[in-house]
């Protein structure tokens, strides 16, 4: 039974014992003379009718015993504070590899502020919403590398995505768009995964124009390992301001260039692996796509919540025991009978 946000009673039925307390009180009152040995006396009236302190204390002592019984009932109800750390069992989720195109064309500004940044933002939101899945990130341009292998540590994944820095990558990676390489690398990372469902979200904004592995080969690989591939084509229809050259100071020269996405290939990959192809023409669309994928890849969430209980019965029981002890002490010392 929940009481407040953080408190609950483990066995609330024990509170029914509280009902017994007044019953017991009545019973005790009715049988108040039965508990002890009686001194049969010839004339009680001769003691007069005045009450001494001990007479007055007696109901108080019984009251204390009743209170301690009530406290014990509360203790049996096991009040405890709950600290829920909603950890989900990550192994039960699915494994998702994000294959992100980081070619120069990703800096095109048809998505705001540019394709890469928009992607980063949406990807992070996507990850946040799926706390029980494992993620990995593969970056590719003219070649591909694994930024983050499949992991349940989503903070690392999100951190890695946040840190994708085009300028840095630009110097490290060969130029071009090697979709086959990206896909193959992602497949490679997923192939040993024991997850029920393995998914690659392949994002690109161009046409496969380089790389040692043909996209079709990579597709076969994905099929082989039973990996679902969702493909996302980034970029508007028609023309978009795309970097076409490099100025001496390192900044890009933008020019409207025709957006070319190998949609047929992406569709094919998606279809053959059981995924879907999406086209993101703007930020809103991109968001929607992720939501769509999120819906499609419903995992049965086996959330194991970690309840951190702090049992609070102890003070109740201790006070009760203390009270009982105290009444016993009073009864058998100060209020004892020699009869």
């Amino acid at each position: 039974m929940k009481l407040l946000d953080h408190y609950e009673l483990y066995t609330p039925y024990a509170l029914l014992l509280l009902l017994l307390v007044p019953v017991l009180a009545i019973w005790l009152y009715r049988n108040r003379y039965n508990e002890r040995a009686k001194f049969l006396y010839s004339d009680i009236a001769s003691f007069g009718s005045f009450k001494t302190i001990k007479n007055k204390m007696l109901p108080l002592l019984t009251g204390l015993v009743l209170i301690s019984l009530a406290l014990i009932s509360l203790g049996i109800a096991r009040p405890r504070s709950v600290d829920v750390t909603a950890k989900t069992k990550k192994t039960k989720g699915i494994d998702i590899m994000l294959a992100v195109d980081v070619s120069a064309s990703m800096l095109a500004r048809d998505l705001k502020p540019n394709r890469l940044e928009a992607l980063k933002k949406t990807a992070i939101n996507f990850i946040k919403k799926r706390p029980n899945d494992r993620f990995g990130v593969v970056l590719y341009a003219g070649e591909a590398f694994t930024q983050v292998p499949i992991t349940s540590d989503q903070r690392v994944v999100m951190q890695a995505i946040r840190k994708i820095n085009f300028n840095q990558l630009f110097n490290q990676l060969e130029q071009g768009t090697a979709i086959g390489m990206g896909l193959a690398t992602a497949v490679n990372r997923l192939k040993d995964s024991k997850a029920k469902s393995k998914v690659i979200i392949l994002m690109t904004d161009g046409v496969n124009n380089t790389g040692e592995i043909d996209p079709n080969t990579a597709l076969e690989l994905a099929k082989e390992f039973g990996i679902k591939v969702y493909t996302i084509g980034l970029g508007t229809n028609g023309y978009a301001p795309t970097p076409v050259g490099l100025r001496p100071d390192g900044s890009f020269v933008y020019q409207n260039a025709k957006v070319e996405i190998d949609e047929n290939l992406l569709k094919k990959i998606a279809k053959e692996t059981g995924g879907r192809y999406f086209r993101a023409t703007d930020n809103r669309k991109l968001n929607k796509i992720y939501k769509e994928i999120d819906k499609l890849e419903k995992t049965e969430i086996k959330e194991t919540k970690y309840y951190n209980y702090k049992e609070l019965y102890r003070p109740y029981v201790l006070i009760a025991i203390g009270l009982i002890f105290l009444t016993g002490l009073i009864r058998y010392t100060w209020m004892k009978s020699f009869v």
């Binding site: 003379y33 001194f39 049969l40 001769s46 001494t52 007696l58 209020m335």
Partner: protein, 288 residues
């Protein structure tokens, strides 16, 4: 209690009290309760030492030797023992219950009476007349009285002294020796006592336990009244309470003495630890 036990007890009491009445009480009792006067019974020849005033001159003249008249005390007294057997009698802290002591007192009195050829009757009462044995003579009758005292189980627990006094007044037409033996845990019997006291030779014997006089510190005690069945927690450690208790006892004793003496009756009060023989001897001597 089996019959055998009762008889054994009766025998024990008989032995103890009969000796008392034979050797100690007999005479005192005899002289204490006198008959209505002297009546002539016979004449016999004069013997040396006879009072010359008792010489019957007519008979002396006829026989020509002196004869004296012999008088006998007219006894044939009736003694009625009214014994309280209410609940409070079954209390006692020093070896014997009040009831046990009363039984001995009654036995002593009854034996003394039979010895003097008096009739003995018994009334057992609580707040009702529990048992009435009409006055009769004889040892076996006394033994029956003792047996009843030992074995009788009263139906009621409370005490009504006034009621038994009225009963005695109604049942005894002639003047009788009446002993009222009780612990007198009762009130309002003064008026009735006055009436009964005038008609009969009444003596009240109050038997009490030392604890009834002075309650020791027994701590916080659950008590049950033997008469009313009322229960209470009594804090006997409390000095004020013990004082009240003692004062109430003294007031009760005082009421007992005063109301009996006012009605011209005698009083004996004895603790269960005390010697009733001594007290009774003192009483008889004072009367005699």
């Amino acid at each position: 209690m089996t019959t055998k036990d009762i008889l054994k007890k009766v025998r024990k009491i008989e032995i103890k009290t009969k000796r008392l009445s034979d050797h100690i009480f007999g005479g005192e009792y005899h002289s204490s309760f006198k008959g209505r006067g002297m009546t002539f019974s016979e004449v016999r020849p004069y013997a040396y030492g006879d009072d010359v005033r008792n010489i019957d001159w007519n008979v002396t003249a006829r026989y020509r030797t002196p004869f004296v008249k012999v008088f006998e005390e007219e006894r044939e007294l009736t003694m009625l023992l009214a014994v309280d057997i209410s609940g409070s009698q079954w209390f006692g802290t020093r070896g014997q219950l009040k009831h046990e002591m009363i039984t001995e007192i009654v036995a002593t009195l009854a034996f003394s009476a039979t010895q003097n050829n008096d009739k003995v009757g018994l009334v057992l009462y609580s707040d009702e007349i529990e048992l009435f044995i009409p006055p009769q003579k004889g040892r076996s009758h006394v033994l029956r009285i003792i047996r009843e005292l030992i074995d009788f189980k009263p139906q009621h627990t409370r005490t009504d002294t006034s009621m038994v006094l009225k009963f005695i007044y109604n049942i005894l037409k002639k003047k009788a020796i009446v002993f009222l033996i009780s612990d007198f845990v009762d009130e309002n019997y003064e008026e009735t006592l006055k009436i009964v006291g005038k008609k009969h030779d009444l003596t009240g014997i109050m038997v009490y336990d030392p604890i009834e006089k002075e309650m020791p510190d027994l701590g916080f005690v659950t008590m049950k009244d033997l008469e009313t069945g009322q229960q209470a927690f009594i804090d006997t450690s409390n000095k004020k309470l013990r004082k009240t208790h003692n004062a109430n006892f003294l007031r009760r004793l005082d009421y007992f003495k005063k109301s009996f003496q006012k009605s011209g009756s005698g009083v004996i009060w004895v603790s269960t630890t005390g010697s009733y023989i001594k007290k009774m001897l003192q009483y008889f001597k004072a009367r005699g």
